[in-house]
Amino acid sequence: MRFHTPKTFEQAAAIAAGASGLTRFLAGGTDVLVQLRAAIVTPDDLIDLKHIPGVKDIARTTEGGWRIGIAVSGAELGRHAGVCADWPGVVEGMQLVGSTQVQGRATLVGNLCNGSPAADSVPGMMAAGAMVSVIGPQGNRAVAVEDIPAGPSRTTLLPGEVITAIILPPRGAHGGDAYLRFIPRTEMDIAVVGVAVNLRRDGARIIEARIALGAVAPKILLVPAAAQAIIGTALDAVALAALSAAAIAASTPISDKRGTATFRKDIVGVLVQRAARIAYTRAEGASA
């Protein structure tokens, strides 16, 4: 195994593009190192991105959103007052990852690129409308988070492409988001179902919504039909029922050691209502 410590993303992308075997980038390493030790993935080239300047920074974008460095850990994100105020749903998703120890290392980008259908921070990012900046052999591009997952352990990133930052859009007025996951215990478990809801209100009425579901399909899904079920409503009982139905309809879960398909469908219908209620309440409190 070759271990690289590039000083720029261009170098990192070049090393990855030139590598012939199995390549992994090292952000927090909480997936990469675990998989290495368990002999699940033994990379030929391991490219540590943490020596690149600025990867630990969180900064305002000119548009008023947030640019989050690829090595910002869950613990650091959770202590950033600005991001927590704007995007509590994104932060609570990331903060559910692992334990205190894991929080010190684990990152949003690692969670996204590991490609787990149950990744906890990804539904929140999708619902928020987050983008990632990518650099690679074909140059730079900006990609919506929902376009990154390709299936279990797979992404749409091309060989040699590396994510340089995560961009959260401006929060704007009267918006709120929330993430809920179901696990049988209280921590150190993998989501049996994960649900993120992001919405904007005009008075009691929901005028925008994005809803993402985790662990109910081969990849994390953005579900426009679920969003449509609540847009234009005041989240009344009829809207909530339609929301559940849409979320269940979009789900194609499997039965495995973590839960049955029937159970996952039941739970997605329950959690999507609960998350929507939290987001709706948060949106009421949110000022311009």
Partner: protein, 750 residues
């Protein structure tokens, strides 16, 4: 001094000093199994079957042996043949012979100069298998079409016509069952199932073994019983027990799972083959879950008769248990004996079957068999109480076993504390806390025999009057503290002046492991006797110095004193003075006691749990949990409470989420703590404890064992609480959210 007088004012017994091993543990200085290394050491890795049941056609290790640094590969061919009975089972489980019997069964082992190299080499060992049909579930394994795991295993007890996987049958009882049921106002029968669960100790199995061509060996190992390791390894390897010296490491949990061998002979056999170089073998968590003893899974029927006033008139149980592919590994006998032990019932009948399945060889797990039995019996009891509108705790008290009663499993109880335990439970403040919507309260009682067993303890007075106690029972829960306290109490010296060491097999006579909740009871009893011997010697030394009769000297507050005014006037001679002079007054002073300890006192407990069940997700939250249990006497109350809490927590995990998940291919799918869901700390409230003290007349300080009873009531207590919260009764474990939700939905459909 009356032995059962609770008002006896002890100086140390009943206090809470720091544990002697505490500093080592919090500073990381304590040496656990994997911490032991030796010069020239090799590392081992094990090749394991990926199949639940498969004939081994061929093992080719040539590629592994070709790697530079690989020093030995062993297969079953390196072990002696002709073993019988449990020795054969142990050998077969250590390394498969013709057939791999479960997913994870060891088939070969490799020793190399580094752990990584050993693991690489293990992957290069080619094993050709012929996959055979397998069976996992205990009921399925008894069906006529079930694959036969090993024909001819069954013993003479099995009735004719049963499937060859049924290998043992037990029945016993007393009274007129039919008359008992006829006398009852309500007779109910139900069936229950419990899943296998793992002890879940934090420290994986680890050892360092060394053995030369001369058959002399050394082993450092994480174990509950160094003499068991010695005997079992010697049997499996065909060597002589006394030529193997076994030193136990500090132990990170065992709960019964470390009272046997799993991979220890491999380290010795590899060492022998590698020219006597020491070999270290450390299991991964996945290996622990795939290939070390969980407890048995069970399928159980219970029938009970009750009068409208709550009197139990008759009860019968029929249990089927699988403990893997080996006869004698399931605790079906214990389960039967514990099933009705809490109650005095005029007519009882027990039937049990042991069944083979393609699963790892079960090991003891905290009160083996009793939790499953309690789940079945205490669930049905609760249901019947509700049907008759009776208070389930009052019904338990009404039928409770008492001193002098004939136990359901045969003997007559001596002094026991179930009545006191139930009374303390019913009086507890937790029972008065009002419950909200979706909340429910459940109670259950539980029992464990406790055990005495083979015990040998030595004690030596130091030249400064301090004391060393050598015991053979590894300290799994604070027993060094308790043994030190009893020794110091008896000698009349400071707790800090006693050091208790857990010693290797060469230092004492044979000791049984720390099992059956016996360490504080049996090693404690022997330590007290050894201290009394030392006291007698010290009195004799003082008498000789004073020129009076030894009988005229007594021991008081750590010193020899004249027994009365007639004995003469001499100042007290302290243990330090006697120790300083002992070389010239007759030589070293020590005490030694060995015994197969009888006088054991059973321990009863009662638990009450409050839960809240999310009706939309089926998820259970434990709100409040109470453990009340008879300790006989709590030598160190904090460690007694720790045992109560630990038992409750393991039981909660078993009840709610722990299970072995097998694929259709018979492979274990959740051999990692991420998916084998034991409770995490944040899942639970602080567990409330009440120590009841009804002293055991068979022990100098009244000790009963306390380690095991605590895991018996949680399974039914949780089921009873969930039934109270939801109106649905779960009769199959675990009561995980998918199962609870499915039951709630089925109930709503009507």
């Amino acid at each position: 001094m009356p032995k059962d007088d609770l008002k006896t004012a002890y100086r140390l017994v009943g206090t809470r000093p720091n544990r002697p091993d505490g500093l080592d543990k919090v500073t990381g200085r304590a040496r656990y199994g994997a911490d032991i290394s030796a010069p020239g050491m090799l590392h081992a890795a094990v090749v394991r079957s990926p199949h639940a049941h498969a004939r081994i056609i061929r093992i080719d290790a040539s590629k592994a042996l070709a790697l530079d640094g690989v020093k030995a590969v062993i297969t079953r061919a390196d072990f002696p043949t002709g073993l019988t009975g449990e020795d054969w089972n142990l050998q077969e489980n250590t390394l498969a012979g013709d057939v791999a019997l479960y997913d994870g069964h060891a088939v070969a082992a490799v020793a190399a100069t580094s752990k990584l190299l050993a693991q690489d080499a293990a992957r290069l060992v080619e094993v050709e298998y012929e996959v055979l049909p397998h069976v996992i579930d205990v009921d399925a394994a008894m069906q006529p079409d079930a694959p036969v795991i090993r024909a001819g295993t069954a013993d003479h007890s099995v009735p004719e016509g049963m499937h060859p996987n049924v290998v043992k049958y037990i029945e016993f009882g007393h009274g007129d069952l039919e008359a008992g049921f006829a006398e009852a106002d309500l007779v109910r029968a139900q069936s229950y199932k419990t899943e296998a669960t793992h002890q879940g100790y934090i420290e994986p199995h680890a050892c360092l073994g060394q053995m030369g061509a001369d058959g002399k060996g050394e082993m450092w190992v994480c174990t509950q019983g160094q003499w068991y390791i010695r005997r079992m390894c010697s049997a499996v390897l065909g060597t002589e027990a006394s030529q193997l010296r076994v030193t136990p490491s500090e132990i990170g949990g065992g709960f019964g799972g470390k009272t046997t061998i799993f991979m220890e002979p491999l380290a010795l056999a590899l060492s022998r083959k590698a020219g006597g170089r020491p070999v270290k073998l450390v299991m991964s968590r996945a290996e622990v879950l795939r290939a070390t003893g969980p407890t048995a899974s069970a399928s159980m029927d219970v029938k009970m008769g009750m009068k409208v006033d709550g009197t139990i008139t008759a009860a019968s149980v029929n249990f089927r248990m699988q403990g893997g592919a080996f006869i004698g590994s399931s605790p079906v006998g214990e389960a039967l004996s514990c099933a009705l032990a809490c109650y005095t019932v005029p007519a009882v009948f027990h039937q049990g079957y042991e069944v083979l399945a393609n699963r790892p060889k079960a090991a003891a797990y905290r009160a083996p068999g009793s939790p499953m039995a309690a789940f079945a019996v205490e669930s049905l009891l609760d249901e019947m109480c509700h049907e008759l509108g009776l208070d389930p705790l009052a019904v338990r008290l009404k039928n409770a076993a008492r001193e002098g009663a004939k136990a359901s499993y045969g003997p007559t109880y001596n002094r026991i504390g179930l009545v006191e335990t139930l009374e303390a439970t019913m009086a507890h403040a937790n029972l008065k806390v009002p419950l909200g919507p979706n909340q429910g309260r459940g109670a259950a009682a539980g029992f464990w025999f406790n055990h005495g067993g083979e015990t040998s303890v030595s004690l030596a007075i130091g030249e400064d009057g301090t004391v060393t106690v050598s015991v053979g029972t590894p300290d799994v829960g604070g027993s060094r503290a308790s043994l030190g306290m009893m020794t110091a109490e008896t000698l009349g010296i400071a707790y800090e002046s006693v050091r208790v060491n857990i010693v290797e097999t060469g230092a004492l006579g044979v000791n049984e492991p720390t099992h059956g909740s016996r360490a504080t009871f049996a090693s404690g009893l022997a330590a007290v006797e050894a201290a009394k011997q030392a006291i007698a010697q010290m009195c004799a030394r003082a008498a000789a110095e004073w020129g009076i009769d030894a009988e005229a000297v007594e021991w008081l507050d750590g010193a020899a004193v004249p027994a009365g005014p007639n004995a003469g006037k001499f100042p007290p001679m302290s243990i330090a003075e006697i120790g300083a002079k002992m070389g010239s007054t007759g030589g070293p002073i020590s005490g030694h006691h060995e015994v197969t300890a009888g006088g054991v006192g059973a321990s009863f407990g009662a638990h009450v749990v409050d839960v809240e069940v999310d009706p939309e997700t089926g998820r259970t939250t434990v709100l409040r949990y109470l453990v009340v249990q008879d300790a006989g006497r709590a030598i160190h109350p904090a460690y007694v409470e720790g045992q109560y809490q630990g038992g409750a927590v393991q039981g909660i995990g078993w009840a709610l989420n722990e299970e072995y998940v097998y694929g259709a291919d018979g492979r274990l799918q959740n051999a990692v703590f991420l998916d084998y869901r034991i409770p995490v700390a944040s899942d639970l409230p602080m567990i409330d404890t009440v120590i009841v003290e009804v002293p055991n007349p068979g022990h100098p300080y009244g000790v009963r064992g306390v380690g095991e009873t605590g895991i018996t009531p949680p399974l039914p207590a949780l089921a009873n609480a969930i039934a109270a919260a939801t109106g649905v009764r779960l009769r199959s474990l675990p009561m995980s959210p998918p199962k609870v939700l499915a039951a709630i939905k089925a109930n709503a459909r009507g």
